[in-house]
């Protein structure tokens, strides 16, 4: 029970997580049509990245501008499996080489490349979705953090990696489907992903995994490792000269963020039905940072709201004023950094809670003067007043 309480982060955070669960698991499915719900599902796959960024950027101080790499690699792993399933000899019999993905056939490839071979296995794919991006993050982390490459230099390197991977994917058309990506994904182990019922089920699986990631994040932040991350962010030297190998902690949190992103990417491929280099490069990677920044880079739950809101805004504005969207996004980022650095979660902490407390205070004065008889939740809220 105590462990559970720790995981949920106390009563205050319990309310937050219950509210978010209600919104995602009840309100959205009940009020949105299948098309819009699938869209929310897509937004929520970005929330995985944002949650990872809260850990690694907000708490660890490691600003990665290349999270799209991990989102993409996770997504590609899943897409490769789905594509192989969609490319059975029967449905590809008009190709010159039946049984391989269509884009390979267009690129005069006559045999399935070795890189694709293991993705016939679903078990391998599920492991690879997480393992490959984590391995990549581990190598990047070893190469950079062990050499004390940090701060802005680290961000620049991650951007370069995002760019390199995009160029690589676009360039290797026969292997990756090039700029179009891997499209026409149809079934998962025979289960048709394009039906409304499949999309609904995937939406809930996605939501479940997202909450799983949030709980893992909570667990990390509540542990000594969480405090170490903050300590490292503010006083790296002190941590190092207290006997800690700072680099190994940075590598760890960077790998966790990569794993979360990758799960998001895989769920994206499943729900949206394709994966392309447009989710790997610099622009999507920076967008993902904006989701976390808007939601609040110190708040796991805030990151989810950030991803939902910014993407909703993006869809709304790019449907109505497509040219304006990029400027708006840039302006939003500047505004967040300059005026509310802790994002929506910060605004809620500084204003929302107080407003709620004021509201509660207007209730019969009995409650305010006799805190002993008050229910616990209210006393908590009132305690936060100045």
């Amino acid at each position: 029970m105590k462990a559970l309480d720790k995981l949920l982060g106390g009563q205050q955070n319990l309310i937050g997580i219950v509210l978010l669960a209600l919104l995602i698991l009840v309100v959205f499915p009940l009020t949105l049509d299948a098309f819009r719900l699938n869209m929310v599902g897509k937004y929520l796959t970005y929330a995985f990245v944002a949650v990872g960024l809260v850990l690694c950027w907000g708490y660890g101080g490691i600003l990665s501008l290349g999270q799209g790499v991990f989102f993409g690699v996770g997504g590609y792993c899943m897409a490769m499996f789905l594509k192989l399933e969609a490319s059975d000899p029967q449905s590809t019999k008009i190709q010159s080489t039946p049984g391989i993905p269509d884009f390979m056939d267009w690129n005069q490839i006559t045999e399935l490349p070795w890189l694709w071979q293991p993705f016939h296995s679903f078990g391998f794919t599920v492991v690879a979705v997480v393992a490959v991006p984590v391995l990549l993050a581990f190598i990047i982390g070893m190469a950079l953090f062990k050499r004390r490459v940090g701060d802005v230099y680290f961000s620049i390197v991650t951007q370069a990696i995002a760019l390199i991977l995009t160029v690589l994917i676009v360039g290797q058309q026969g292997l990756t489907g090039g700029v179009n990506g891997i499209t026409d994904l149809k079934t998962l182990l025979g289960w048709d992903l394009r039906t409304d019922s499949a999309k609904l089920i995937l939406y809930f699986i996605n939501a479940g995994l997202l909450f799983g990631c949030i709980f893992i994040g909570r667990f990390i932040l509540a542990s000594k490792l969480g405090r170490l991350l903050m300590a490292m962010r503010d006083k790296e030297e002190r941590v190092r000269f207290s006997g800690y190998d700072v680099a190994s902690f940075k590598i760890f949190v960077f790998c966790v963020a990569a794993a979360f992103s990758a799960i998001g990417g895989a769920m994206f491929a499943l729900q949206v039905g394709f994966m392309s280099p447009s989710f790997v490069g610099i622009v999507p990677s920076i967008e993902m940072v904006i989701f976390a920044a808007v939601g609040g880079r110190m708040s796991l739950l805030g990151a989810v709201y950030g991803a939902l809101l910014v993407n909703y805004g993006k869809t709304y504005f790019s449907e109505s004023f497509p040219e304006l969207w990029l400027y708006l996004m840039g302006g939003l980022f500047i505004a967040v950094v300059m005026y509310f650095p802790n994002g929506l979660a910060g605004l809620w902490d500084s204003h929302g809670r107080q407003a709620l407390a004021r509201l509660l205070r207007r209730q019969p004065p009995m409650k305010a003067v006799a805190p002993v008889v008050k229910p616990k939740t209210e006393s908590k809220i009132l305690e936060t007043q100045p």
Binding site: I220, S223, K224, L225, R227, L228, M230, A231, D234, K235, E237, R238, V239, R240, F241, S242, G243, Y244, D245, V246, S248, F249, F252
Partner: protein, 252 residues
């Protein structure tokens, strides 16, 4: 400590021929320095004499150009910073370097020598032993009543003590303090002197300090550094009456 008789006579820290040059400028120049067990040594010297650089070299923050630093038979110049700490060297920085966002308790707990690796830290448990140790050290550094205080709300002097406390948590064999009483009131200085006398039981302490009254009250032996070299070494009285030392200090 399980040190055998003959080891007790050997210095705990032996620095020999230590040199570091930054673009040709020798901040520390062929330095020899020996610190005995249970000794409180104070290093003084004018600004730019290389005092802080010596501490940086010992704890691995700066790498030596040549020379050796032997600590308990281990060569520190080749070791990683965290291994130097784990070997028993604790170092306090010039400006109080504490975790402002954490409480006094959490600051001290952070230096508890367990859960220092990734998985260890992830599954670290705050057990009765940890709590007892934190409380013990907090009392020692006069912060026993302030365990739940957020560290940025402490006074400057209390922050200095807190950092000393964080080092005590590691129970180091060699404690290095860079200007521990800088910015402290007269009262706090007296308290710190008392604290140092207490915590130097069973360990060696290397202190850099400018405040001569404070130096007098704690030092067993004083080393005067000048231009990266040892200018004089001995008791406070002998050093103070040394004409070379007087010239260096008054000449500036």
């Amino acid at each position: 400590m399980t040190a055998v008789g003959f080891e007790m006579n050997k210095p705990v820290l032996a620095i020999e021929g230590l040199t570091v040059s930054f673009d040709g400028f020798k901040a520390v120049d062929n330095l020899n320095l020996y610190i005995d067990r249970n000794e409180v040594r104070v290093v003084i010297g004018p600004n730019g004499a290389g005092k802080t650089t010596v501490l940086d070299l010992i704890c691995g923050k700066t790498r030596a150009t040549s020379g050796s630093i032997q600590f308990d038979g281990q060569e520190l110049t080749k070791m990683r910073e965290y291994n130097i700490v784990r070997a028993g060297v604790g170092r306090k920085f010039q400006n109080p370097s504490i975790y402002e966002n954490l409480t006094v308790f959490e600051n001290l707990e952070m230096s508890y020598p367990a859960g220092r690796k990734v998985w260890g830290a992830l599954f670290f448990k705050r057990n009765a032993q940890v709590i007892a140790r934190v409380e013990e050290v907090a009392r020692e550094i006069f912060l026993g009543e302030l365990l739940q205080q957020q560290a940025d709300l402490l006074s400057h002097g209390q922050k200095q003590w807190l950092e000393i406390g964080m080092l005590l948590m590691q129970d180091p064999e060699l404690l290095m303090l860079d200007e521990p009483v800088a910015g402290m009131s007269v009262n706090e200085r007296a308290q710190t002197a008392e604290l140092l006398k207490r915590i130097s039981q069973g360990r060696s302490v290397l202190v850099i300090e400018h405040d001569m009254e404070f130096v007098k009250s704690i030092a067993h032996k004083v080393t005067v550094l000048h231009q990266g070299k040892v200018l004089a070494e001995g008791s406070m009285e002998s050093v103070q009456s040394n004409p070379k030392v007087i010239e260096v200090y008054l000449g500036h």
